[in-house]
Symmetry: D3
Subunit: 236 residues, 6 copies
């Protein structure tokens, strides 16, 4: 989507306190609070379990199997950012490893989301630098062709603009557009509170059929309850 | 396969002592003991390592991206059950999370097998509620269309009837039809004993070629042993 | 590729001290040191995190869903080997489990690479016998048809000859042809040293743009830096 | 699912006139008329465009990469049948080619549905023997291990029993259980009539919003109509 | 990405003469002329060979397995449009068939691009209504949940805004943003002319190495020419 | 696998009369005649139906998304060759189109086999230049990095050496190593003759069970014939 050969500097980042507040909420909560929007494709997986971060997107569009622009992007990163990398053609090469993680860590970057492969999984785990990637691959890349930094990218099926909020945990990755971030944060809080109440009810054995009053609507739709026939196994 | 809009109650469950006895045996053993039948497709993976459960199937057929019938199914579950969920069209949405797990846990349910996605992986891990799913996805679902509970379903390529035995571990998921369960349990025990003896032989350095007397049959099939040519690398 | 029904004995293995020295280096390093060659397809994954081995290849070509030749291959293995198994047609059955691992362990084999499925993941983890496989599957196999042992095989997209060096870690699996192994080992050491120096620079906040003097070449290619427009979001 | 080593003879086939009447209706119509049930997975594709058949299922469960039971099944086929083949473990080998098609054609068989590969595509096209398969593959198979004929099988995600009605066209494959076949046939006819009326309306420019009176329900759900802003491109 | 429940009317379409002029150029040409941007993922395939269209995008965001909004979108279409449909979660159901095609044809719509399945392939072929889809599937959908019409969507990995130019042929689908369309059209023409000249040279046996003067740059990169060794087959 | 930056000239091609004689035989026949070896992965598909070629391999190893070496390879091609292209890392870009086909056609090249994408499908079809590829994709490639020509490559899972025989038809692609080609040709002829005889028997209604005398061996394995129970549908 992006024009190659451009680096946008001094991007407008979502307000830091808003971004940091998102770290309390899981990706599922944020995605629901955003009206079921903003979820990246579920083929993105964390390279190790338990990481949970929120940060501002610095976006990178890379040519296939070429990681040059990631090197260019490092300089554009600052404390609180999450690097978001999308190749212009599908690839499972390993664009990113522990050296780049070391460089990003030195600038306060909180993690990487990449619609391609990463490598050095053991070292990244030791560094506690979380990565959400399409695969793990040691396949090397070249540094020959320009891409772009901080233009909007489509990454794993979602449009991500520089400065947007990225939330990532064991369930995957969500993007919240900057201008919606305050409202989505608010809705996340409200949802979390409602869920805490529901959790208590369920733990006590209450059914959602009753707690959420579903029985009437189910009956309206025609749900019927029957006992299993004595003979058992019908195919129906 | 199933008729939508039906909930079958009071299903015939496999005898509890038989079901519980399956928990001693791994999925590979049970699948072999059942004559290499009953294994669900290997794309089902546990969301965390180390879980191993046996239980009775409560089956749910759900429309794609609609988890309403899982809520309906909770009421049909009892201590010792495993919930088995199959969408009527392929989907990788997240039909199940920690709230539903909390409700199932309150009823003594031992785990979930779902031919689709689940979410809240971190919370499910903390709850120690095991799930075998096609993927992890935070994608939300709706509550609009009826499916069925406790009609036979095809889940990950296997026919599963309510009350059948489900065994699941790090290797995947197997189903044992209720009426075969006693025989398969017996065969699992026998197999385990044989394997314990074989394990001892192998650990002592004995070859299966000798222990299982394969050399003659291999020779009959025409197996020949040659030394590597001095020059080495031939393609053949 | 291979002729069925042949077992090549007394293969020429890469020099043991060379092989063992590879264990210091990760797969990404070895693959780069080999001129970005020799990497097996990234769909091969370790069954547990943290394993890192180097060894000499004993190659097995198996018919689909038939593991007989793995039993034949055990006898051809010796201390320091890694078993490499490739089916002649794509399959996700479970050709290998803990009994075979016990047999291989008794002979000093360091691990298994298989372009298909393995099973008994929990037991293999307890045995600390590492496996890199395409999937985990409890699906059993038969012992009916001959394959070959120690003929060259294509495994996960790479040609592997018996006696070649195999290196495997969390990032995947690489093969180094025997006759290139000394040179690749040397190059791996050199690369590791260079990377240690770079790591120090990056940790101190130095940019690769400067450390590797990339700015001139980027400018030559036409990279331009612009500030984000006040209004923000352009689609470009 | 099936017991290996059994051939069921003299199966109960759906009434011939009912079966033949299904040939008028496309798979989409039949699937809808059956309450959106019975559709095999969409990864099954016809090997050439334009075929459209209805017939009675003769079911075959084959071991992976072994086509012996297809030879056994030929004898069980009669005029008006469709052969349905499911391997017990996923495989993309080529189990079926023009020689078997010649044998089936001689018995009046109308086509093949196989959850695996077939080969001799050019010859099958010339013979006008339609096949719906997962892939095309020249990979040969063996004749070593028993499977079953005319036991229920799960094929491409659907349970199919011998004698059930199979309908297949460019859109895929559907199964109609024998005992439901008369009702589904009736519903297919009714649906086709309704669609003919709708088609006429649509061709005349009438909108489904009006023809099916959707506007009220859409408004109730909250649908709003707005004009595009003068500046155009909003991300919303 | 989009807000559910909104239909944007009176969108700004790319100038009709520009759009129509794109029909002369193939997708590969347009994609190259646009600086290698705008290509939708190659998993989108035409349902029949030989179609080639250019038109203006009317965009539809649909919930998974729910085609209600396509019905809503018909009213927003006019002569020269191409409907672009993206589900909010991956799905291979059949959202579209010949009845909707009949309705769109009545309004002058030139085709459909859908990141999901379509059905009625035979009828669509007879209607000569071209569709580019992820798969063919007879699986029915529901009409329960709102989506949006004419908000920007991500379809098969590309951002598409209402009114953008869509070009589709046997090679796939490309989007050209409205404001870039004149420039890309111009560049397409220039490219086509250059290619015509090159084609003539190549047909006459001239090598691109000479025609495009590549030999020097190849030599600079270190390309070397050697004769095959007498013994032949080296692994190198 | 290959060393980058090398072009091997004056390769040893399989004898022309042998190569040409293979054009009589389909891929399935050749693959069987070669002892079920040499078949490339079934994900390679012809871009149009009905092509059938045999020729000598000119092999090209290309970096991902870089088609420079295909231009280099044209010069190495001569009448009767088939170009075989393998990227060093998985890619679905479009490395090849009608301009390169025009250049190859001018030299008498018979087709292309590529473990990646091609484009200009309509033009290639008009040129009658057959291509077997992993996908169709208009995605452009660069000309930046060296690969190799006429070193052995692994393409779609098979080792291919320059000068080997390639046979391709609607069923896929097979490679026959040069030194085995005469023997495989002979075996293909013999197989074809046997099949012609069998075809006649089958067409006359003879069963393979009798023609190939399988009944005894089936009985030995334990195959049993039973009649369907009156009640019908058992799950077994």
């Amino acid at each position: 989507m992006s024009e190659a050969g451009v680096v946008v500097q001094n991007i407008h980042r979502t307000d830091r306190s808003t971004v940091d507040a998102f770290a309390e909420f899981g990706v599922a909560t944020v995605h629901e609070a955003a009206g079921r929007t903003g979820l990246l494709a579920p083929y993105l997986n964390p390279i190790y379990a338990g990481a949970h971060v929120a940060g501002t997107a610095v976006t990178v569009s890379v040519p296939p199997c070429d990681n040059w622009m990631i090197h260019v992007a490092v300089e554009q990163c600052q404390d609180g950012d999450i690097l978001v990398v999308a190749p212009t053609s599908a690839s499972d090469a390993g664009y990113f490893g522990e050296l780049l993680a070391t460089a990003l860590r030195a600038r306060g970057v909180r993690g990487l989301v990449i619609d391609a492969g990463c490598r050095d999984v053991r070292e990244l785990t030791q560094l506690d630098f979380p990565v959400w990637s399409k695969c793990v691959s040691a396949q090397g890349t070249v540094k020959e062709t320009l891409g772009s930094v901080n233009l909007p990218v489509v990454c794993a099926g979602q449009l991500i603009e520089p400065g947007d909020v990225i939330v990532a945990d064991d369930d995957g990755v969500a993007v919240v557009p900057s201008r919606k971030s305050a409202a989505v944060l608010e809705a996340s809080r409200a949802r979390e509170e409602r869920e805490a109440a529901v959790r208590k009810l369920y733990a006590a054995g209450e059914l959602s059929l009753d707690a959420s009053d579903m029985r009437g609507r189910l009956a309206d739709k025609g749900l019927s309850y029957v006992d299993q026939a004595p003979g058992g196994r019908e195919r129906e």
